[in-house]
């Protein structure tokens, strides 16, 4: 495994009417890699997946899979499996019927198909749902059904469009781990779209950040987090987002620069260099988020320990970690 499924997008363009959904996108996904796409709503993430799947055609540019241009291949001939955000389960078929669908279409013998569907269901822990209809299952279960269906396709590429979006926190946490394990087992090239910070950071070998149809940065998650290529990426990845302060204000730096520092890189310290007033303390249980305001009105978000003791209205001092201050060009937004 891992030798198939290298994807190359070459200056892909796609517009819907006047909306430019993708604008000259180049992206390379290595064979066996899991690539995560993140970006605000409407930035073109789903469009990329749909183009790779062949559900939509580019206005310009090429899509190569293993070096072959696939533009002429209709979706049902591409060896691609997709998990849709809303799962797209067939409502008129039982869970088993949903799993068998593709196998039967590909003329797998009935008993063989049945065996494979059941084993995939077992693997994902939905073996006892097989006779239910999709609308009789919970969100988490549906997600697994959709995954099982995709597994049965045995594709060279998996496309996952926000597969965990509709799960609640505990379930999401558990399924994230399952997905990772699965990818490690199969080693199939995977492109994965998400809104979720934690998923973006943990699920992909590399992350691509999109904004309004353009790719802003591609790289391993930690690298993108630590060295955002521009202010957009800095503001988008991380929750709460990075504090962005004009140069010359509390963080120093010169004019024409914007300085950024992540909330966890500001520490409460009586000797800290920045004096701020606490506006709000959001106690998240496992940690606290302080929303603070400097004397010049600069707002700074601070991530502190679970029981940090600060109270709204109090004045505290913050110590920024100087190694982790980011510098951006105020004009272009690019990292300096």
């Amino acid at each position: 495994m891992g030798e198939h499924g290298a994807i190359r997008l070459e200056s892909l363009t796609r517009s819907y009417g006047r909306v430019v959904a993708l604008d000259d996108v180049d992206l390379e996904v290595r064979a066996g890699e899991m690539m995560t796409l993140v970006g605000p709503s409407g930035s073109g993430k789903s469009t990329i997946l749909r183009l790779i799947a062949g559900l939509d055609r580019p206005d310009g540019g090429r899509i190569l899979v293993d070096g072959q241009d696939v533009s002429q291949v209709p979706p049902h001939r591409r060896a691609v499996a997709m998990v849709f955000q809303d799962f797209a389960l067939y409502p008129h078929l039982t869970v088993l019927g949903n799993l068998l669908f593709g196998l039967r279409v590909r003329r797998v013998r009935r008993d063989e198909a049945d065996r494979r569907a059941r084993s995939a269901a077992e693997r994902l822990g939905i073996g006892d749902l097989l006779d239910r209809y999709p609308d009789q299952t919970s969100g988490g279960q549906r997600q697994r059904i959709a995954l099982a269906r995709a597994l049965l396709r045995e594709p060279t590429v998996y496309l996952l469009d926000e597969p965990l979006a509709s799960l609640d926190a505990p379930l999401r946490f558990a399924t994230r781990a399952d997905l990772l394990a699965l990818h490690r087992d199969l080693g199939t090239t995977t492109v994965h779209v998400t809104h979720d910070q934690a998923e973006a950071m943990t699920l992909g070998d590399r992350v691509a950040v999109l904004d309004r149809g353009r790719i802003r940065q591609v790289g391993p998650p930690q690298q993108v987090y630590d060295e955002p290529a521009d202010m957009f990426v800095a503001g988008f990845l991380g929750s709460p987002p990075m504090n962005l302060v004009p140069g010359g204000a509390v963080l120093g730096g010169s004019r024409g620069l914007i300085l950024g520092i992540r909330p966890e890189d500001l520490t409460l310290d009586v000797d800290g260099s920045i004096e701020v007033t606490v506006d709000v303390v959001e106690a998240l249980g496992s940690e606290s988020i302080l929303l603070t305001r400097g004397a010049d009105g600069t707002r700074l978000t601070v991530r502190a320990g679970p029981r940090c003791g600060a109270r709204p209205g109090e004045t505290v001092r913050l110590r920024p970690n100087p190694d982790r201050v980011h510098h951006f060009d105020a004009e272009t937004g690019r990292r300096r």
Partner: protein, 293 residues
């Protein structure tokens, strides 16, 4: 359950009330009255019908014309309903997808529905014309000598069914709308599982449309059995040898032409029972489609 519970359902029934009143007054009462007349000697021309018990029923049991009529209706049902459904569903699905000029295609298909029955019948007199009609000329291309359509019971029935394949606008509209309601994502999912266009039709569209198709089938069955006779009446008027003497035609003739008002009322009740049986059978056959979920 306490009495004040379910204010919402109460409101719902209030919305249904006017309709229920209308149904009661305009359908239930007249229909029951009609049923009552079935056991009298009412001719429709006098005002003092006498109760005659089951004598109409007894007559009905050895009425050869009624037998012809039931047979004609049954064959008509078997011919026309599938044809009409096939046409409505096929064209609805064919023309549902957006495409340049698609609107005009849809208008064209809807048109025969608003063409008056007379005009349609007149046109079909020409279509079925044994010498000059396009249908026989078409058969001629295949070396067939053609039919004298309206003189043979079999071909006359087929001819009427062919004619009724045209006014399918209602079903067509409903299929169009229903097809548009289907989730496009399912088709994409199916395509990615290797399902080609034909497979999608067979495995997705038709099963997903099953409830609508059933509703259409039920409606068309009722229409075909009970209402859709006017163009046939104009075209063949029961000929030849009662092959197209559909039940409603026979009822119309009895009740209005031959002063058999009470007898017509009786056959009307029979027609209703027959329709109910057909519909129930239909519903039972397709029960496992989960259409009544």
């Amino acid at each position: 359950m306490t009495s004040d519970r379910g204010r919402k359902p109460l409101t719902a029934w209030a919305f249904l009330a006017p309709y229920a009143v209308a149904v009661g007054l305009l359908i239930a009462v007249p229909a029951l009255l009609n049923l009552g007349y079935a056991f009298t000697d009412h001719t429709g021309l006098t005002r003092d019908p006498q109760f005659v018990g089951l004598s109409n029923v007894r007559r009905m049991l050895d009425d050869g014309f009624l037998l012809d009529s039931v047979r004609a209706s049954a064959i008509h049902l078997a011919l026309a309903v599938p044809l009409r459904l096939l046409a409505a569903v096929g064209l609805g699905l064919l023309l549902a997808a957006p495409r340049p000029g698609g609107r005009w295609f849809r208008v064209a298909v809807y048109l025969p529905t608003v063409v008056p029955d007379v005009a349609l019948a007149v046109l079909f007199l020409w279509v079925l014309n044994p010498l000059y009609g396009p249908l026989n000329q078409l058969l001629g291309l295949f070396g067939h000598s053609g039919f004298t359509w309206l003189s043979d019971p079999g071909t006359a029935r087929v001819g009427v069914a062919l004619m009724l394949m045209f006014p399918i606008g209602e079903g067509f509209l409903v299929v169009l709308a229903a097809r548009r309601m289907l989730d496009g994502r399912l088709y994409e999912a199916a395509a990615l599982e290797g399902c080609g266009p034909f497979g999608q039709l067979r495995r997705l569209t038709l099963p997903l449309l099953a409830p609508v198709l059933l509703l259409l089938a039920v409606r068309d069955t009722i229409l075909t059995l009970q209402v859709n006779f006017v163009p046939a009446y104009v075209l063949t008027d029961g000929r030849p040898s009662n092959a197209t003497l559909y039940l409603p035609v026979y009822i119309f003739d009895q009740a209005f032409e031959f002063s058999g008002f009470a007898y017509g009322a009786l056959i009307t009740s029979v027609l209703m029972v027959v329709t109910a049986i057909v519909i129930t059978a239909l519903l039972l056959v397709v029960r496992r489609w989960r259409v009544l979920r």
